[in-house]
Symmetry: C2
Subunit: 401 residues, 2 copies
């Protein structure tokens, strides 16, 4: 039936500009043992998610007259959920836009703020998937060093004084991914001051914020009070990635643009998921913090277990510290003569999978390649002990000890 | 604290290219009586949606060990759901990509297939929100007449022979929105032949397909067998808009591009919603068709009620026919001297809201402005009778009868 096709399928520049995953997220690396212990992703433990309470909330919202949870809703999100988030963030409800998770918040920010080819300052090392998200705007990147206290504001300020004109900056201020540092209050204020002075937008990506281990989190009010910050958050690490539900705190003047974009993409986040989570959070006002309290204790315990197990199984081989929050350990190899790629390959053969530190640099000048990113959130303590033992055996293949 | 901002906030071309809604979807028109009967949107009746069964399915998926419904999943969608859809569409599962509803499928197609500024042939009259979606690619439009049998393939072929080079074509093949025609089998085959010959992609948008009133739907296999068609569907009109769950049948070679785009936007549709609907559809294999059977009878009954009520309340004023499926009536005013805009304003004052036909043309050459689009799916029959009475009173303000 078909005649000769006269024109081959063309692919638009947006699509041809996408690069294939290399390293982090590269499926070709995933040839692993069936019994492998996977410390790969920042996955919450299923037993710490309120599954039964979500089922109960679902039954209640689906029993409401007219079942509004099954109908269209506003692009910005449904009111009870937005109001709960706005109160927690300390901002007017108009500045909260519901998203399909944290990464979606980033992508909406990228598409709403950036012109194609813009310069964007980014963490170095950086959460690698953000760089893939930047391909939506074919952005150029300006790597900014990340140290023990998060983003190096002095280096950023130097670039700005020297004439760099980023349109935006990306950082993870709390329990940085992968380095685990937290940006101190003074540096937050200075970052916002620079953004307002030089006229760039800060993408403050904060998925781990609620998972602090002691003393509570650093304040984010300086972010929420600036019209140069998009503060991105999500229920992914607290109520479950599978919900695909998050939010952005946006400057008031940006909200209509984000709504205009989203109304042309997927209209709005699932009303059902929004209604379930809104019901969960408001039906029992203590449930969210109770859930988080349990999660914080468990994740901290796992981090301590893993640090102790590394020292027991490979004494002196790693400079590893229990982070202040989040889901990752970022140990550094103390022996500079060790081949970190060979270690990862040997570890895979032993049955432990993790993300190599070399996947995370956004530019030169970091020692990320000497690190390992170990995700422990979803792994029971006995398996963390076994993982450390396997890593120790992999190390000894090089050290011969 | 803040210094002078040196650069005003710039807005990227993508965003500044978005136009404000005019007519359809224009919130400024929504100044209505509190007791207004709204025949505005293609909304399924809540009582026809399987709310209890969805709650039961939720309880089951949230009780599964490890609760995979709350975890990350593949960008393409989860297997049980994709497999159920693939079987129903008669295509390999690799060609099914889960979306956040029908409009999301359109937007993914637009962004994956179109270069900025491309020409796109579109229905005339057309579903107005599609034109807003096209702004994602700043597309130019080539209106193609839609008649009683859907898209006018002869007019399209004439444009193509004369040298028009559309990159894509948009049509609603089944129970066209707004005109209610269905493209016959021969015209479907000819449309696909033209697409393959001239090298454009067909966006076949089919949200109403399952809501046929008698004799079953027209075959879509010619769409699903072509590598020049993206066939867009959704559970919006059958299981509820609030789920935000749909799918696209894509040519095999396009699937990786759509996945690459989505993995940079919102990663994947809610695993929870996918798991709930997958469980609903597979736990009781007869449930979906039973649900649809009931819906088809109710919607057909409402269409018949509304046609009869219009004739009773305003004899001879409308050329109105019961459609073969879907959720809309598209009556034409028989008196060319009537002011259709004044009628809509008078109707609003009487307490009935509908979409004016003048909102739907994509170009000249249609009589759409002489029509009304009346959405009856969610409106009980007594209210449809009252709506017709109010419309009759609004008419008589002009006719004086």
């Amino acid at each position: 039936m078909s005649l000769t096709t006269t024109a081959p399928a063309r692919r638009p520049a947006l699509i041809t500009g996408f690069t294939a995953p290399k390293g982090f997220g590269d499926a070709t690396l995933r040839d692993r043992r069936a019994d492998a212990i996977e410390l790969l992703g920042g996955i919450p433990d299923p037993q710490l998610l309120p599954a039964l309470e979500l089922a109960d909330a679902t039954a209640r919202v689906l029993a409401r007259p007219g079942v509004p949870a099954l109908q269209y809703s506003r692009t910005e999100g449904i009111s009870p959920l937005r109001e709960w988030i706005a109160a927690r963030e300390g901002v007017p409800v108009e500045r909260i836009i519901i998203t399909n998770g944290g990464f979606h918040g980033l992508s909406l920010g990228i598409q709403t703020v950036l012109e194609r080819g813009d310069l964007v300052a980014v963490d170095n090392p950086v959460f690698p998937l953000f760089l893939r998200g930047l391909e939506l705007s074919a952005a150029q990147i300006l790597p900014i060093r990340v140290g023990a206290d998060g983003l190096d504001i002095d280096q950023l300020a130097g670039h700005l004084r020297a004439g760099a004109h980023p349109a935006a900056l990306y950082t993870v201020p709390d329990f940085h991914n992968p380095t685990q540092g937290t940006l101190p209050a003074g540096a937050r204020a200075e970052l916002v001051r620079l953004a307002e002075h030089y006229g760039f937008t800060v993408f403050a990506d904060n998925p781990y914020r609620e998972l602090w281990y002691q003393g509570g989190p650093e304040s984010t009010s300086v972010f929420n009070e600036s019209d140069r910050v998009i503060h991105i958050n999500t229920f992914t690490k607290t109520l479950g990635p599978g919900l695909r539900l998050g939010w952005v705190v946006v400057p008031a003047q940006l909200a209509p643009d984000i709504v205009a974009l989203r109304s042309r993409q997927d209209s709005h986040s699932s009303t059902l998921v929004q209604a379930i989570v809104g019901e969960l959070l408001t039906h029992d006002p203590g449930l969210f913090d109770t859930t988080l309290g349990r999660a914080r204790r468990v994740y901290r315990g796992r981090a301590e277990t893993l640090v102790a197990a590394l020292e027991r199984e490979a004494p002196g081989a790693f400079d590893a510290t229990v982070p202040d929050g989040g889901l990752f350990l970022w140990p550094r190899l103390t022996d500079d003569a060790l081949d970190a790629d060979r270690l990862a390959a040997d570890a895979s053969a032993e049955g432990i999978e993790y993300q190599r530190g070399s996947f995370f640099p956004s530019g030169p000048g970091t020692d990320a390649a000497r690190h390992l990113r170990l995700a422990y959130g979803h792994v029971p303590e006995a398996q963390l002990d076994e993982a450390a033992a396997r890593l120790g055996r992999a190390l000894r293949k090089q050290t011969g000890l």
